[in-house]
Amino acid sequence: MSAAPSKNYREYASYWSIVWEQFQKNRTAYASLWAIGLLFAIATFAPVFASKIPFYWRDESGLSFPWFRGLLFNRNVFDGAVDLFFNQLLVASPAALVTWLWLRRRARTMEVRHYARLERRVLLTWAAAFLIVFVVISQGMEPRTALLDYRARSWREGAEGFLFPPLRISYEDTLHGVAGTGVRNLLGIDNAGRDIFVRLIFGTRVSLSVGVIAVSIYIAIGTVLGAVAGYFGGKADLAIQRLVEVFLCFPSFFLILAIIGFLPQPSLIAVMVIIGLVGWTGPARLVRGEFLRLKGVDFVAAARACGFSDGRVIFRHILPNAVGPVLVNATFGVASAVLVESSLAFLGIGDPTLPSWGRILAYGRSTGDTPMMLIAGMAIFVTVSVFNLAGEGLRDALDPKLRK
């Protein structure tokens, strides 16, 4: 160990670790990043705070764990893909934490090159395993188990032991005339008798998933098209640029409204996909610009000289260097996608049973319930703001001229 050939992970300053250092120096942006993390945590752990299903339940027929089962394996509790996704995240979070700690320990002792490879592999394995499990659970099976009315039973004879989450309310519960919720409604109830606070925290799931997935879709489309346009130039560039111009000349929100008009019953997934299909022009132009710049740089010429295929040059050599501006664009994109989803829900478009913030706002407006409007509006405002602030921080951190 006396003659280490290269520095270990901690001492090595890659491009991204410089960016990360710069980012941390921007206090607002760093705090916003924590806030985003907190939002994701709220979204993931929402059922821990609020559910009408107890963690465990014991009566004459024995001990059962309806809450744990309900997370993934009882569609009578959670039915939507968004909920299932976050529930799976919740279930997987302890294992993910363990993996992360293990990786940190390895990083202390491993060589940088080896560690980087290990990290990439572990990450990819995790993502792939997670997605496969998600698809299998959400599409491949439809497990249902009859549910007892635990809330009502907890007040009657026969319940020997149980533990409910702090709020004994699910977001779709209509509480008029329902006894046994145990707590007062923190922010009151809406016109259908549903607890606003619980809907608000479950609404985080809707907003974040729409933001992230819609943006992923359009970043993917935009990156590929932009890369093709920038790298090959000529007719491909011409065609793609004209397509971009055609898309740009429609105001995007009205385009989204128009497309949704064709769907008789737009689900949340449809909303995500449509936002994704409409928003790709920005990243496409960014990526094209980056490619035009990098195409003539020496390392690309070297890669080409080695006889690498176009695909390899594009994805392995140019794209990693062009990803900075796209990332900034994506962060702002999440903010605007959250806003678009809220606007659509406010206009009454989409699944009416979902606890979307825009819908809470609309109910508040139509029933003249000002606090309800303010709360939902604040939630939207905070989410959009933290994503915008983080995006700004990232933009500044990527800019070499602004280094501190």
């Binding site: 259908a192 029933t367 003249g368």
Partner: protein
């Protein structure tokens, strides 16, 4: 530094002085204003008293120096003064189907004159008297024109004379002989009559029998967009003009609906709608086609107490009292209907005094009136409100031709699982009455002795189990084997998506159904899609509503022959032999008591069969400035347009 400091001090002193002077003068002006206003008020009070006195003198409720009633016809009914001797003789001769008014348009003490400003929710699409069937247009026409006879507004079982003095009906109600008043004149056309182009419209015109014939011809002309009217006259064989003041209407078979169709005949002037803008009469074959886009369609004409003055599309409609009206004239001189699309704007306009009467939205009722958001509605405030019974009702329709709701027990279970009382109270602010059947809740045909099925989830579960829907596999959802296929009880509820209270109500219903093992998916759709799906019968269940008349013929909605016709109103596929028999029998029954008995039986069948889950018949709310006096509501459409309202004098805003 020193100079700056001094300058600042000087500035502050000057500014303070200025403020004091300004405040002083403001107080002075205010005092003066108060004095002037007080003077104005006194003058107003004086003129009110004078006009009230004059009114009482005129109407005979006040006599000077004499305690005895007025000399001429002391015990004559009030309505007598609006008929000539010959007309009165015609009216009161035995054998007349109609009688005279007992209500009055000017109550004792009413103040003469003034303009009432009413807020409308939406602009009208046009003013054609035949092709426009929107409710707000017909409400407007109730000021402008009249029909042969009407149901008396405060006593709807009484048919009273308007344009006809006498209607003789033969024994099986297939021939109506109508005698018209001879003193009815048409309003002047609402165009600039000084313009030489309209010289042909000058002069006074009498209403004659031919105006009714013209109405009938238009209503039955296939070229005219009046499908909604053709329905009523389907069995009418014709209208024969005897002379200018007499005509005969014939029907091919005895139908009780012929009474309201015949008595509801309204005149349409051939001299106006049968001619182009230059006064050239159209060819007889062309009239119907031209009528749909007639040049006068942006204006209205009639023979009623108010005459149409102008319509500014998107803005306002103005009506003015017609001096040549034959009957009792209402107190209010002008009516202005202002379009205000936004509910909050309407309420604000009422608070500011820009409008005098609005219809209040249920949500506003909850927050502004009951919730106290608008304190002026409270004790001592200058706004008043009242709820009144509307004729519309809400229901959930079950597709009896589908696989879920073809069993009476299932539909009944659905009703038992629908917590109507709670939902009405929570989501509709209690603005309605639970109903059990298809007739107007205050009308004679509705059987008040039938009580709503109670909310009872256990009974609902039991009924579903009896009907074969059981949860055999323990997944919390009931299922049944239909044609060899195991089917989960999971159905779609089509709702109109933009009404939040319906969404909320269905949300509640969904949870209750879920607890008895039934999955309901809410499908909110736009209105156009909703209509399409209802007419194509592409639904398991839907939330709907009907608007009813005082009496209604159940044939269109409930007769089994309508269930198999595409795009009919029997969307749920209700088929019941006894109900069919009752509908057919009742159509030819002219004794109201006998018809009521039949319809009570029909109501009982509907209640047993539950083709709909009847929900509630809504209350509506009117809100007005307290200077509008004698505000009262009629059990008939238009509920809030009684002509005996009057205005206390007040400052125009």
């Amino acid at each position: 530094m020193q100079r700056n400091f001094a300058a600042a001090i000087a500035q502050i002193v000057v500014f303070t002085l200025f403020c004091v002077i300004a405040a002083y003068s403001a107080v002075q002006v205010h005092d003066l204003q108060v004095l002037v206003l007080d003077g104005n008020r006194r003058v107003d009070e004086l003129s009110t008293t004078v006009s009230r006195l004059r009114n009482e003198l005129e109407t005979g409720s006040l006599q000077i120096g004499a305690a005895a009633p007025a000399a001429a016809g002391g015990d004559q009914p009030y309505a007598r003064r609006f008929f000539s001797d010959a007309q009165w003789e015609q009216l009161s001769r035995p054998g007349n189907y109609i009688t005279f008014h007992t209500d009055r348009r000017s109550v004792p003490g009413a103040v003469e004159g003034g303009t009432i400003h009413r807020a409308a929710i939406a602009d009208i699409p046009g003013l054609n008297p035949i092709t426009q069937n929107a409710a707000d247009v017909s409400d407007l026409y109730s000021y402008v024109t009249e029909s042969l006879a009407t149901r008396q507004r405060d006593d709807p079982d009484r048919w009273v004379s308007d344009l006809a003095t006498r209607i003789e009906v033969n024994s099986d109600f297939t021939e109506y002989h109508v005698y018209l008043r001879d003193d009815v004149t048409w309003h002047p056309a609402a165009v600039d009559l000084t313009d030489p182009k309209y010289a042909w419209l000058r002069g006074e015109r009498k209403m004659v029998a031919d105006d009714f014939l013209f109405y009938y011809q238009l209503a039955t002309d296939p070229q005219v967009d009046a499908a909604h009217l053709r329905n009523y006259f389907e069995k009418c064989t014709g209208l024969e003009v005897v002379n200018d003041h007499e005509f005969i209407v014939r029907w091919s078979e005895p139908l009780f609906t012929s009474i309201s169709a015949t008595l509801g005949l309204a005149p349409v002037p051939r001299w106006l709608y049968g001619a182009d803008e230059d006064g050239q009469l159209y060819d007889a074959a062309e009239v119907g086609r031209r009528f749909n886009n007639h040049w006068y369609n942006q204006m209205a004409i009639g023979v009623g107490p108010y005459r149409f003055v102008r319509w500014v599309p998107g803005g306002a409609i103005e009506l003015e009292r017609y001096d040549g009206y034959y009957g009792e004239k209402p107190s209010i001189e002008k009516i202005e209907v202002v379009v205000m699309g936004d509910a909050t704007a309407r309420l604000n306009a009422l608070r500011a005094g820009d409008v005098d009467y609005i219809s209040v939205e249920p949500n506003q009722y909850a927050t502004e009136i009951v919730g106290g958001g608008t304190p002026e509605f409270g004790e001592g405030g200058n706004l008043a409100y009242q709820t009144y019974q509307g004729t519309a009702y809400r229901y959930l329709g079950w597709n009896a031709d589908g696989k879920y709701f073809n069993d009476r027990r299932v539909r009944l279970a659905m009703t038992h699982a629908f917590n109507r009382e709670l939902i009405l109270a929570q989501h509709f602010h209690g603005l309605g009455r639970l109903i059990t059947g298809n007739f107007f809740v205050d009308g004679p045909d509705y059987d008040q002795s039938i009580l709503p099925w109670p909310f009872d989830l256990e009974r609902a579960s039991q009924l579903l189990t009896e009907a074969g829907w059981v949860d055999g596999d323990g997944d919390g959802i009931r299922e049944k084997v239909i044609d060899g296929v195991k089917t989960n009880f999971e159905f779609g509820m089509v709702t109109y998506g933009y009404r939040p209270e319906f969404g909320a109500a269905m949300e509640h219903y969904r949870n209750d159904l879920r607890s008895i093992g039934v999955v309901m998916n809410i499908e909110p759709v736009e209105w156009a899609v909703m209509v399409e799906r209802m007419e194509e019968k592409e639904f398991d269940a839907y939330t709907g509503g009907w608007v009813l008349g005082w009496e209604s013929d159940p044939y269109q909605i409930w007769h089994s022959s309508q269930a198999d016709i595409p795009r009919s109103s029997n969307r749920v596929g209700f088929r019941n032999a006894e109900a069919d028999r009752i509908i057919e029998e009742a159509r030819a029954t002219f004794d109201p008591a006998e018809r009521t008995r039949l319809f009570h039986r029909f109501h009982a069948i509907i209640h047993e069969e539950q083709p709909y889950t009847f929900f509630f018949s809504g209350l509506e709310i009117g809100g007005w400035r307290r200077w509008v006096q004698n505000v009262n509501f009629s059990p008939l459409r238009p509920f809030d347009q009684n002509m005996n309202w009057y205005l206390e004098p007040h400052d125009a805003p």
